[in-house]
């Protein structure tokens, strides 16, 4: 297995290099640069000499090939540089935001798994009953409802309900505090966004669980198990669900990785200082260094998550061997 993991990690190198080259080229294809935005976005006078000095300092006047090899060399030596916008080390910019995104992604995943797998399974077992219809309706509504809209509505609802109940509108805090500093405040900040994201996430997973279960339940080995007189509970838990979870685990892995960098709008709606918001900001500000680092981070997370998912396959289905 270790050989398999090392092989997979080595295979990640060309993926990361390809992503690096792509993001490098795309960022430089956008007209304008960080200096003009930083010195001019206020709308007041911009001194051209200041813009030029800024470009020189950031190396934006260097030939593209020089910039590219500098970038590659820095990454090979684990030097991720400093943000062109804030001048802060990129590692620090990311370290501040990553716990926020990670916590939301983990909470949303837990919420999704707790809702989706039981309900998806019940839906499959009770196919075409009223229970199945209700679960499917909840799932389709979850897929169709944009998370940001749900986020805005949930905040408005909280404000309205507390106003009606107490005469004073209340909303969760808008400044994130780490869990270990103040658990209550932390949970009141992250719970609503986690539920908002988790609902859509659970809806997708629910649909996948249901269809996978339906497929597995029609397999010959399930019929055989029933013919042998095994208890229905054992058939479902040991034979059906475990096999049906293969595509579900893949989906959960992809969704989790996506949530780390993809909660752009949700993070804005709840004013969360996460990776998604930082990525959008970096692109808007044409902060090449930070954008490159963030894209590489998201790619690395996808690669690692896929690896973990593949390892889980073997646990779920012992027939799968690493080679």
């Amino acid at each position: 297995m270790y050989r398999y993991i090392i092989k997979r990690l080595l295979l990640a190198i060309p993926t990361l290099a390809g992503a690096a080259a792509l993001v490098f080229v795309l960022m430089r294809a956008i007209p304008g640069d960080v200096c003009v935005i930083r010195l001019g976005s206020g709308g007041a006078h911009v001194d051209p000499a200041s813009v030029e000095a800024c470009r020189l300092k950031l190396g934006l006047n260097d030939p593209l090939i020089v910039q590219f090899f500098d970038f590659l060399w820095n990454y090979l030596t684990f030097n991720f540089g400093t943000s062109m916008w804030s001048g802060q080390p990129v590692a620090r910019e990311i370290a501040v935001r990553l716990p926020v995104s990670l916590e939301i992604a983990l909470m949303a995943s837990v919420i999704a798994i707790l809702i989706a797998i039981p309900l998806g399974t019940i839906s499959a077992l009770k196919e075409n009953t009223w229970l199945d219809h209700v679960v499917r309706m909840v799932a389709i509504a979850g897929i169709a409802t944009p998370s940001f809209w749900l986020g805005i509505m949930s905040l408005v609802l909280v404000l309205d309900i507390t106003y009606l109940a107490t005469g004073k509108p209340w909303m969760p805090p808008i400044d994130y505090v780490p869990l270990w500093q103040d658990p209550i405040r932390n949970l009141s900040v992250v719970l609503l966004p986690a539920i908002t994201v988790g609902y859509r996430y659970s809806a997708v997973t629910m649909r996948m669980t249901r269809s996978a279960m339906l497929e597995v339940l029609r397999e010959d080995y399930i019929r055989t198990a029933r013919a042998k007189g095994l208890l229905e509970q054992i058939i479902i838990n040991r034979h059906a669900l475990k096999n049906a979870l293969l595509p579900v685990v893949t989906l959960i892995g992809i969704e989790f990785a996506f949530l780390i960098g993809g909660l752009v709008v949700t993070e804005q709606v709840f004013n969360l200082n996460g990776i998604g918001r930082l990525l959008v900001l970096a692109v808007q500000n044409q902060d090449n260094t930070l954008t490159q680092a963030l894209v590489m981070l998201v790619v690395a997370i996808f690669v690692l998550t896929n690896l973990v998912v593949d390892l889980l396959y073997a646990w779920l289905d012992p027939r799968i061997r690493f080679s």
Partner: protein, 534 residues
């Protein structure tokens, strides 16, 4: 400017305007923490000398002192300036070329050391004559300054090359924070990432991209101030977050300004718990045709563009949905140098009879062979008010048979398009802090005289008229010179079309007292005179 208290308004949800009592009439109470929203993501740095964004000012101004400023209790004044670190506003000497400031001797840095005139000198030298490798964003504002001296620890002298009415307003620029000489000499970049001033609040902490905190400076030299024990600024670029935060009292105020819809929503939902102040804003959008592209090199076509726009009817209609309101020329409408309504109406594009103007526009287009002209309007991907203004303009131009497509691009490509001349017509912006018409109107000069002018024209007459106005010190004669420059710009040559000025609407929890709105979101942000009436 007016101060209003919001009331629940039936149907429209709009507050009836009630004049609130003068803030100064109440005795300020000490204590409390002010939590306020900063309508932006994290600023690029905390160095006021280097940056141009309000995010830097709203985050760090409470920690710094300045030499002079707009009056904190009357920041709407466009002509009055008062001392912060000096002891009295000096009378100009040497025919208006020398200003001698006496510096307060009771000012301490937050590290406990004494602030002297040498610190003021070092800071101003860094702003006006930045050393190599140091960015001073507004260096061009001080082209009239010859040298700055500090003959002793209590005196700073500014010597000018020529007398200028633009000097004092430029000196009151809100970014001109006073830094400690010792730190500047050791590391001129130190202030980019660190904060240490002598202002009303002492810096406590900064959570990158999230919030900034400060506590009361007990040694502050303006006695009794600041009234607050602490401040916390929370960064939130998204408007819905800021509106909800104020409604839910997670934050008491946001100083930049929100559109009328946000005001109406808050006032409808929170009633008299919300107070609204509004003011004309020293910011505006300018429609700039690219003179280097046909047919915009033809003044008849540019004139037709101006004539088609119904400023007088459009401004009040737009003000219901966008942050614009007052029709003006090249000078901020609240300034003594601004054109009156009668003076405006005598110029192209401001006439009272829009049908007559549009008939003339059609005639001019026909004469120029540009009937049914099709072109692209490049605009910035910012809702308020850029896209609203752009959409309105297209509607107006359609009425004279023009076929205009709006090309909305992010900030970077928008700047790039203007700088490289890659546009037909662009919605540009001119957003200033201190009302300083002599400098603010430099935007309408040709690019050879003003780098951030994007019309692509060369016009020696324009430069001549501007310089005459700039060097005139008699208020009456300067006003006349400004009219001549304005008429040449907007009427004779139609280098640009000025759309209605922005309108600043700030709503906040009614327990916040002492703060007064100004014509710029950059001004009056040290928060020293704010207090809480809980």
């Amino acid at each position: 400017m007016c101060v209003r208290k919001g009331l629940l308004a039936a149907g429209l949800g709009l507050a009836a305007a009630l004049a609130a009592g003068p803030v100064g009439a109440q005795t300020p109470k000490q204590g409390g923490t002010l939590t306020y929203m900063i309508a932006a993501d994290a600023p690029p740095s905390f160095d006021g000398h280097r940056e141009t964004t309000f995010a830097t000012v709203h985050a760090a101004a409470p920690f710094y002192s300045v030499l002079i400023r707009v009056p904190p209790d009357d920041p709407a004044s466009t002509t009055e300036f008062v001392c912060d670190l000096c002891t009295g506003m000096p009378a100009p000497a040497d025919g208006g070329k020398t200003y001698t400031f006496k510096i307060r001797q009771d000012v301490k840095w937050h590290d406990g050391s004494k602030l002297t005139a040498q610190d003021v000198l070092a800071s101003w030298n860094s702003i006006v004559f930045p050393p190599k490798g140091i960015t001073s964003a507004r260096v061009s504002y001080y082209s009239m300054v010859d040298k700055i001296e500090a003959p002793d620890d209590a005196t700073v002298v500014f010597r000018l090359k020529y007398p200028s009415t633009a000097f004092l307003p430029a000196l009151a620029d809100p970014f001109t924070w006073i830094y400690k000489k010792e730190i500047l000499e050791k590391d001129p970049h130190w202030y980019e990432k660190n904060i240490m001033g002598s202002g009303p609040f002492k810096f406590v902490s900064y959570e990158i991209g999230q919030s900034i905190k400060g506590v009361r400076n007990p040694d502050y030299y303006h006695k009794r101030q600041p009234y607050l024990d602490a401040i916390e600024g929370i960064f939130a670029a998204k408007q819905s977050v800021r509106v909800d935060a104020i409604r839910g009292d997670r934050a008491a105020i946001e100083f930049r300004g929100m559109p009328p819809s946000a005001r109406d929503q808050l006032v409808k939902e929170a009633g008299d718990k919300i107070t609204v102040q509004d003011s004309d804003w020293n910011c505006g959008n300018i429609v700039t045709p690219n003179h280097k592209k046909k047919p915009f090199d033809d003044v008849r076509v540019r004139r037709a563009l101006a004539l088609a726009i119904d400023q007088w009817k459009g401004a009040p209609a737009l003000s219901k949905i966008a942050i614009v309101r007052t029709v003006g020329g090249i000078v901020f409408p609240g300034s003594p140098l601004a054109a009156t309504k009668e003076e405006l109406q005598a110029m192209t594009g401001y006439g009272p009879d829009i049908e007559k103007a549009r008939a003339e526009a059609r005639r001019l287009l026909k004469e120029a062979g540009a009937e049914g002209l099709k072109f692209e309007l490049t605009n910035r991907n910012v809702d308020q008010p850029y896209k609203f203004v752009g959409t309105w303009l297209i509607g107006e131009w359609k009425k004279i048979g023009l076929d205009v497509e709006q090309k909305v691009v992010p900030t970077g490509p928008w700047f790039q398009a203007m700088r490289t001349g890659d546009f037909d017509v662009v919605v540009d912006a001119n957003c200033q802090s201190i009302v300083n018409p002599a400098l603010d109107t430099g935007k309408y000069l040709p690019q050879s005289a003003y780098a951030e002018s994007f019309g692509g024209y060369d016009d020696p007459k324009s430069i001549e008229l501007y310089n005459k106005m700039l060097h005139e010190t008699d208020p009456k004669l300067q006003r006349e010179a400004m009219r001549a420059y304005e008429k040449h710009t907007l009427d004779t040559m139609v280098h640009a079309v000025v759309t209605p000025y922005w309108y600043r609407i700030v709503q906040y929890q009614s327990y916040v007292k002492g703060w007064k709105i100004s014509p710029s979101h950059y001004l009056n942000q040290d928060l020293a005179n704010i207090w809480l009436d809980r």
